[in-house]
Every structure is written in C-alpha cells, then in structure tokens.
Symmetry: C2
Subunit: 356 residues, 2 copies
C-alpha cells in the first residue's frame, strides 16, 4: 500500500509530520512518499501541482494532504496560486465525493460560539459533490455583455451545471452513508430559482426509490444555512452541490468551534481518496509549533478506513485521539482553563503513546 504525502504550505508540513508519525507507529508499515504541492510546488517546480506530484498522487493508493496557501503567493496570477493544486487534484483524480463530518467532542463543548444545549452531541455528515457544478462548468470568463441593459459592457460569467450521472453517483454515496448512520438524508438545493437544482432535486428523488429505508427531505440552501445555526442537531446527513457544499460545510465545521479537530475525505468511484484537515494552512502560525495536528491525524484514520480497508487501525487512531482529549491535552486553539496546553509535536507524541 502506497500513500502519497503532500504536506503543502503554512502549518501543512508540521501537522502532516504528526500524522506520519502516527501511521509509522502502527504495526503494519505503509510505503510513504512525499511531494511538494501548492505554494511549495510553485516554489520547487513553478507550478502549484507539479507533474511529478500529480503522477505520485495518481499512482498511490491514497493521498494524505496538509493544506495550501500562504500570503506570499497571493499576488501570483490565479492559475499559479496554491488553491489550484487542490482543484486540480480533485478533477484529475475524479474525487467527486467529499465527506466532511462536523462532530463536537464532549470535552470541547465550550469551544463553540453556540450555546451548549444547541450543539452538545452534534454529529452531522456533510457530503459535498466535488468535481462538478459552477467550479468547473464551461464556458466561463470575462466577455462583452451580449444583451440587456448592460449590453456592450464587460461582464464576468460562469456556468453552473450538473449532469444526471453526476447527481446519481453522489446521491448513491449519500444514501449509503445515511444507511450506516441515522437513516436521514437532507438534500440541499435552490430548486425554486435554479434549473440545475430543480434537476438535482428530481434525480435525488428518483435515486431515493432504491433506498426506501432512508428518510429523504429537501431543503433550500438559504433555509439550510439558517437551520444549521438554529438547530444543527436536527440534521443527520446532508448532501449538496460543490458551491453550496463549500459554504455549508465550513459553516457546519465552525459550529463546533474546533475546526482544528475535523478531518475530511474526498473519494473517487473506487474509494481511492484524498484526505485532509477541514481547516486551512494558517500561515500566521506556521512554524510556531502550536498548530493542532488532530484533524490531520483523524484524516489519516479516515484514509485507513475508506481507502486502505484497515478499519481496525482507523478505530485505534480515533480511540487514541479520544484518549488524549480525555487526558486533558489541548493545543492552543482548543485550550480552556483547567486543561493542559501542548504544542503540535507533543500532541502527536501523545497520540502515538495512546495507541499502545
């Protein structure tokens, strides 16, 4: 089993190093190979997703990804900016299913900006389609406005689109995930305004016939954003498109107040996947040894479960993370009075110890 390790920028290298330490502490050894990506890819090879990095990611059985982006690359033209790496990996590897759990660990209930009774015990799963929608639709660009009151002016434009097969395959992933959990699926759309999402709603409704044991409801995206704030625990699994999923999954993660704890998986049709923390590269704290490595360590656990078929090892890592939390260890982002503040390395070491 070969794992591509793409640390990236900012805190990426520090947090990925801890996850690698945890992987190396398992009984079974995996073949790990690293390559630069994002700003680091640009610095090394002039492109955020160097050819060799993409080739490694394609050849590997799974990809462990840190984070990309740093102030110093903000002035590059868009096609060379770090985030193009993650878009390129998703598209080239066909990673259409993004799974983002938003879980509030009981020990961290105080970290949320929401009242404890609203979020305690929160456990929702957001499934975001990741290779379609307005992220990749053509045509797009800046052109002369062809009609209407602004005819002749410049206009920016993009194309939102979803083909039937794209909707069907993400719907299947979502219904199957719901079957393994609370058996409730909320499909988020904007069918009252968008043709793309009326079509989405129709196809999801059709796929539902194959999953009679799952309760399906449909919710407009504006209402979903409200309900996430009002009563997030009412959700079980949410499925939505790439653009709405980008917004809602970040909002849901922030509900927990501990985005440094949340892993994510992006899967292709054969459960090959890219695994990364839900948070960003946080260049402001890079190199200080204070970043929380737990989201990345938990991403490695998801990788073992979904792509490497090692559910037991995944369970072990997740249990170890729960144990260090119970021991009171906290990186600064989740630190509260009465708990023990530790740095990135110490936290990684503690997880390794807790594995035993």
């Amino acid at each position: 089993m070969k794992i591509a390790i793409l640390p990236g920028d900012g805190i990426g290298p520090e947090i990925v190093a801890q996850a690698v330490k945890v992987l190396n502490a398992l009984d079974e050894k995996f073949e790990l190979e690293s390559a630069p990506v994002g700003g680091a890819g640009y610095a090394a090879h002039g492109h955020p997703l160097p050819e060799a990095t993409l080739a490694l990611a394609k050849a590997a059985d799974a990809v462990l990804f840190g984070a990309v982006g740093d102030f110093k690359y903000d002035t590059l033209e868009r096609s060379l900016r770090p985030e193009q790496a993650i878009l390129g990996l998703r598209k080239n590897l066909g990673l259409f299913a993004n799974l983002r759990p938003a879980i509030l660990y009981p020990e961290l209930a105080g970290a949320s900006t929401l009242k404890p009774e609203v979020v305690s015990g929160l456990d929702i799963l957001i499934i975001r389609e990741l290779t379609g929608d307005i992220y990749f639709g053509q045509p797009r660009g800046v052109r002369e406005c062809p009609d209407g009151p602004f005819k002749g002016q410049r206009e920016g434009f993009d194309t939102m689109r979803y083909a039937e097969g794209e909707i069907r395959r993400i719907a299947h992933v979502a219904f199957q995930a719901a079957q393994k959990r609370g058996k409730r699926l909320t499909s988020v759309d904007k069918a009252n305004v968008l043709e793309t999402f009326q079509f989405w709603k129709d196809i999801v409704t059709d796929v539902h016939q194959e999953y009679p044991d799952v309760a399906l409801d449909h919710m407009y995206v504006d209402n979903a954003a409200m309900q996430l704030v009002r009563a997030p625990k009412k959700f079980d699994v949410i499925v939505t498109g790439n653009m709405f999923g980008d917004i809602l999954s970040d909002a849901a993660a922030m509900l927990t107040g501990s985005i440094g704890m949340l892993p994510s998986a992006s899967l292709d049709a054969n459960n090959k996947g890219l695994y990364e923390p839900s948070h960003g590269s946080a260049p402001d704290i890079a190199g200080k040894g204070i970043a929380n490595p737990l989201a990345t360590i938990l991403s490695a656990a998801m990788m073992l479960r979904f792509s490497l078929n090692r559910a037991q090892q995944a369970d072990r890592i997740e249990a170890a993370v729960k144990k260090v939390l119970a021991q009171g260890l906290r990186t600064p982002d989740i630190h509260e009075a009465g708990t023990h503040k530790v740095g990135t390395e110490e936290m990684g070491d503690a997880v390794v110890r807790a594995l035993a």
Copy 2:
C-alpha cells in the same frame, strides 16, 4: 404619496394589517391600495404576480409586501408558484439593492442560539445585489450534456453573470451605506474559483477609490459563512451577489434568534423600494393571531425613511417598537419567562399607542 400594499399568503395579511394600522396612526395620511400577490394572486387571477398587481406596484411610490408561499401551492409548476411574484417584482421594478440589517435588540439577547458575548450588540447590514447573478442569467434549462464524461446525458444548467455597471451601482450603494455607519465594508466573493467574482472583486476595488474614508476588505464566501458564526460583530457592512447574499443574509438573520424582528428594503436606482419582513409566510401559524408583526412594522419605517423621505416618522415608529419591547411585550416567537406574551393584534395596538 401612494403605497401599494401586497399582503400575500400565510401570515402576510395579519402582519401587514398591523403595519397599515401604524401607518394610519401617523399625522400624515398616505394613499394605500392593496392587491393580491403570490398564492393569493394565483387564487384570484391565475398568476402569482397578476398584471394589475404589477401595475399598481409600478405606479406606487413604494411597496409594502408581506410574505408569499403556502403548502397548497407547492405542487404548481414553477412559473406559477408564489415565489415567482417576488422575483418578478424585483426584476420588473429594477430593485437591485437589497438592504438587510441583522440587529440584536438588547432585550432579545437570550433568543439567539449563540452565546450572549458573541452576539450581544450585534448590528450588521447585509447588502445583497438583487436583480443579477445566477438568479436571472441566461441561458438556463435542461439540455443534452454537450461534452465530457457525461456527454449525451441530460444536464441541468444555469448562467452566473455580472456586468460591470451592475457591480458598480451596488458597490456605490454599499460604500455610501458604510459611510453612514462604521465605515467598514466587506465584499464577499469567490474570486479564487469564479470568473464572475474575480471580476466583481476587481470592480469593487476600483469603486473603492471614490470612497477613501471607507475601509474595504475582501472575503471568500465560505470564510464569510464561518466568520458569521465565529465572530459576527467584526462585520459592519457586507456587500455580495444575489446568490451568496441569499444564503448569508438568512444565516446572519438567524444569528439574532429573532428573525421576526428584522425588516428589509429592496431599492431601485431612485430609492423607490419594496419593503418586507426578512422572514417567510409561515403558513403553519397563519390565522392563529400569534405572528410577530414587528418586522413588517419596521419595514414600513424603512419605507418612510428610504422611499418616502419621512425620516422623522421612521424614527417615531422605530422608537415605538423599542418602547413596546422595553415594556416587556413579546409575541410567542420571542417570548421568554418574565415577559408578557401577546398576539399579533395586541402587538400592533401597543406600537400604535407607543407612537403617541
């Protein structure tokens, strides 16, 4: 001065009746004329926006709108559904600037699902562009997928677009609103992915040159959704497109926990406007006399200020609303122990009394 009164469906008629009572209690009398809209428009004339209703709205100096939508119209084909009325009014009247304050009244701090320290004193203004973007862009529909791995299948598609002049005029509204408040404007985009919003960002940056006294920053929409949950008080004025504004303004309203209190204005280039509560038609409680009329009454105040040039009357109404809250009167949606629960009519009457 002529005001078109469009009560609509669900709780619309009840809450609009209270706002009309308040308008009629002012010293100056306005000409008020009502017409059916939404489901009521369909029931009366076979269309959610009957011709006579649109003509009245066009002829009036301002429009006071209740809410539209009811379960019984859910099975109509899309072009006949109640929400088409509001889209049609926006487009036909050129109401491109939607102003939605999210304010937390000190008396209602407990209503929020967020911790008091995170939201107490919240006062942000979201300015949403309302006649462009993917809401109205052509082409759109369901077609045969022209290329890629799903070629030949059906696909739903829509067009996102913003012309330069459309962005400029909403940017001017936003900078001018910020000048009258805390002098800080956050433009929300997704310039890292969408051509439309890279263009948006460029134009907003250009317009900024005319407003050197306003501090401008740019934020990606996913980050904005997070920051609204994490630290909403850091915002002053937010400006964004139609689609992102739909999502963020609802999320921001929900932060207050009292969406029944929040008015909105939708303005054209000459400050003619449509005024409506930020909440929906709540058909489940329609006719029970328990709906909160304050958002609609405060919408009437906004109307007096922005479209009818009667700032003093607007101030009087807003002061009256604060007074009834201070008196402890609460409709069920904002009721807490120790306050006095009242119905829709009682609340309207109390505001009229407080005007004196």
